[in-house]
């Protein structure tokens, strides 16, 4: 007990000094310092209360003659009063000073002083918003009635101002910088759906208007928006996911939206792993319509698997999806769109599948599972026959490319023809065309012969702005993926970078 009280005494000195420096926390420095120490100060207050409650008011003054100063200064600091339970503990401490039956003028004065301070805590800062007080009184409302609404509005306007500052670059010259901790933003979003929706829409606007085709920048914006972190809470994840879903439906699968969703999912998974070793919520709460085992496989990080073994999870994913999608009796795991939507979150897998097919072109028969996965991801609505047809086309393209690889007559024209001419001479459906373009681009990056003709082929390919846009997007996504997976391919990487810079310069 003696040891405790010694500890308390030295702490006491420390805090009285601190409080004198902070005063009413009216400058930025005092505010920041106060905020830094709030939890410890509250702990100290608790210890003080534990000591004080055992004493009567005279003993308190004997033991801590300057207690009045300490309590008064604390009560004048709005940050302390606004923090957690500090105001309550201060009140308890003050209650310990009240004498039920004062015997002399000294004790009466102490009572009076203490009552004054108690009044102050409960009625402090009244003159702050006189007009508002007057008006609300006129309406018949007490502060207890309207403070919640007022706080909500003040915080909301702060948040939207912060967000604007944030996304337009910080311009803190005109005002002090205020940072809301993630937990506060999370609380706000959980309690007030419109502000979450606004945050997501704001992000969409930003992404679609200015950051097309640069996934690294998109990732920055995504992380700054705090949405991936907040989405660790399933309720928030579901709302954001819904909005992506609608955006995809409305834009009929626009590549920008897809890319943004993939970045979001990546950042979200990263945040999830950072937060807990043990996930707090079951996967099913995030993806309620999907088969849990499928989700588990999709969530695997290719980074954690040796490159040579990537075909395994790919095969697994393909088989599982095939089973779900093509087996009509399975009602519970959602139709083709739902499963395509799920796969689209983890778009990397389809890209890896394409790459795998190309890097092994000419070696052996392309695995059916990979072909199926590619066909599904580019055209989820196809029936089984249509899909089989696509797979056959893709196989043909691959074998043609493989033959060209070894042929002395390899030229840009030949390559393009290989990719674009269909077996029957009929034009391929657009989704299939997109797919074969992707394969060709992969070929250009990986096959040694392809690299030499890359620029020529691309020039021939990019007949429209849209296609050019697609190519730029492909290169950007590929580089982004390679960076994250640590793919070691210096030659391909260099080529991709050069091509991207050239094409961007042209645009």
């Amino acid at each position: 007990m003696a040891q405790d009280s010694v500890g308390l005494s030295s702490d006491y000195q420390f805090w009285i000094q601190k409080l004198s420096v902070w005063k009413q926390a009216s400058t930025l420095e005092t505010q920041q310092d106060t905020c830094l120490y709030l939890p410890q100060f509250q702990e100290f207050l608790r210890q003080m209360y534990e000591a004080l409650k055992e004493m009567d008011s005279n003993t308190v003054i004997e033991r801590f003659p300057t207690i009045g100063q300490l309590l008064a200064k604390a009560c004048r600091n709005p940050f302390i009063l606004a923090y957690d339970e500090s105001q309550k503990i201060l009140i308890w401490c003050l209650c310990c000073l009240i004498n039920k039956d004062p015997q002399n003028s000294g004790e009466s004065q102490l009572n009076s002083w203490t009552r004054g301070l108690l009044s102050h805590i409960l009625a402090a800062f009244r003159s702050d918003i006189k007009e508002v007080d007057l008006f609300t009184q006129g309406l018949g409302y007490a502060p207890a009635d309207y403070y919640p609404g007022l706080l909500k509005n003040m915080v909301l306007s702060l948040v939207s101002e912060l967000r604007e500052n944030h996304l337009n670059g910080f311009n803190t010259q005109s005002r002090k910088k205020i940072c809301l901790p993630v937990s506060a933003v999370l609380c706000l979003w959980l309690r007030h759906l419109p502000s979450l929706e606004k945050a997501v829409l704001h992000l969409f606007e930003k992404l679609v208007s200015s950051e097309r085709n640069c996934l690294r920048r998109i990732e920055c914006f995504m992380k700054d928006s705090l949405l991936p972190e907040a989405a660790c809470h399933p309720a928030i994840f579901r709302v954001v996911d819904e909005m992506f879903r609608y955006a995809l439906l409305e834009t009929e699968g626009a590549p920008e939206v897809l890319a943004a969703m993939q970045v979001f999912t990546r950042c979200f998974v990263e945040a999830l792993e950072k937060e807990n070793q043990q996930p707090k919520f079951a996967l099913k709460t995030y993806f309620p319509y999907a088969s849990p085992s499928l989700v588990m496989v999709l969530l695997q990080r290719p980074k954690d698997i040796p490159q040579g073994l990537w075909h395994r999870p790919l095969k697994r994913i393909s088989e599982m999806l095939k089973e779900i999608v093509e087996d009509e009796t399975q009602g519970s795991s959602g139709g083709p769109f739902e499963n395509w939507f799920l796969l689209a979150h983890f778009g990397g897998w389809a890209d890896i599948a394409a790459e795998q097919l190309l890097t092994s072109v000419g070696d052996a028969e392309p695995p059916e599972a990979l072909l199926w996965l590619l066909a599904f991801s580019s055209s989820p609505g196809d029936g089984p026959q249509q899909r089989a047809q696509t797979m056959v086309e893709v196989k043909a393209v691959l074998s043609h490319l493989g033959r060209l690889l070894r042929s002395p007559t390899l030229s840009a024209g030949n390559l393009l023809a290989a990719a674009e001419e269909s077996r029957e001479g009929d034009p391929r459906p657009p989704a299939c065309q997109q797919l074969t373009r992707r394969l060709l681009l992969n070929f250009l990056l990986w096959a040694p012969g392809g690299r030499a003709m890359a620029r020529d082929v691309i020039t021939l390919m990019a007949r429209t702005d849209e296609i050019m846009h697609e190519i730029v997007g492909f290169l950007d996504q590929t580089l982004y993926r390679w960076d994250h997976l640590g793919v070691d391919a210096p030659g391909s990487r260099k080529l991709a970078r050069e091509l991207l810079a050239e094409l961007r310069g042209q645009a």
């Binding site: 505010q31 209360y49 409650k53 709005p78 940050f79 302390i80 009063l81 606004a82 923090y83 339970e85 105001q87 309550k88 009140i91 308890w92 209650c95 009240i98 004498n99 039920k100 039956d101 004062p102 009466s108 009572n111 009076s112 009552r115 108690l118 009044s119 409960l122 009625a123 402090a124 800062f125 702050d128 918003i129 007009e131 508002v132 007057l134 008006f135 009184q137 006129g138 309406l139 018949g140 409302y141 007490a142 502060p143 207890a144 009635d145 309207y146 403070y147 919640p148 609404g149 007022l150 706080l151 509005n153 003040m154 915080v155 909301l156 306007s157 702060l158 005002r175 002090k176 205020i178």
Partner: protein, 359 residues
Amino acid sequence: MDSLLQQLERFSEVLAVSRTTHVSTWDAATVRRALQWARYLRHVHRRFGRHARIRKALERRLQNQWKQEGGSGPAPALGLTNFQALGHCDLLLSLRLLANRALGDAAFHYLLQELFPGPGVPGAEEGTLQGSLALLARRRAAVHMLRSSAYRENPVLQEDSLMKTQAELLLERLQEVGEAHAEGPGRFLSRLWEHLPHNNFLKVTAAALLLPPSSPRHQEEESELGNPRRAGERGRELLHWLLGKSEVIVAFCRNLPAGLLTSVAGRHPEVSRVYLGLLTDWGRHLHYDLQKGIWIGTESQDVPWEELYGRFQSLCQAPPPLKDEVLTTLKSCKAQDGDFEVPGLSIWTDLLLALESGA
């Protein structure tokens, strides 16, 4: 029912006394009884909150009482003003007693023991007086903190958080009053107009008329009694009253900033009609001073040229149909005056000329 109303009346008396020096005669037992009474009424609030008939009856009685006490008059409201206040009546009583210096030391000591028993079972704080009082102090400090370090008055008045809050409260109160009495809102607003500072009241009215209409989803969130606000109807009674009182609408159009009025007029065509009418009226009061070469008024309350021009300019920056309506009005006034193109003959000509060159 009657006994309930009696209880209500007696407690209101207690509440009134709690602010006076009369409490010097109170001892611990009196304090205890008063707190118990408050607790009972809180229980009534909880119990009958969903019982529309009883709630209405209580609401009506409280509002009448409040009116009789000269509510919203120069003296602040004396106590229970509506049914919702019953939910906080113990808080209200406690705050008054805590602040009342006339309360004796022994009684005060007892009060503190009752209100602040200290750390107890964690999680049992919900709904206790200790919790509510601490929360009140906390929120008050938070408002002060935000206000002094992070708040700046928003130049777009209707988006200012303080304005918005007052506007939301006004509409909320109007709804309650409307539910208790059909003609309630109009009389209520007139009373507010008599007793509150006009400038702030007008701004709040404008902000209220510019609040977004509640969407169906938000209605479910916000409605307490399962009596949802119909979207867009929130400001209807307010608008009706505003347009019905010439003194108010004139002050509204005269004193509020041009941009704010343009927004309101854009949203509510009835207001734009009255506003334009007033503007044309004010314009007709001005005459051309040949020597100085400007339009001036003769009386002190005449709206000066600059202000008139400023308001028309703001209106012309509004999106159609308001903008078109304004230009049509100006052109037709100009035509009525003789359709002159030369300045100095018709104020409408001059305004149009100035607007065109300024644009």
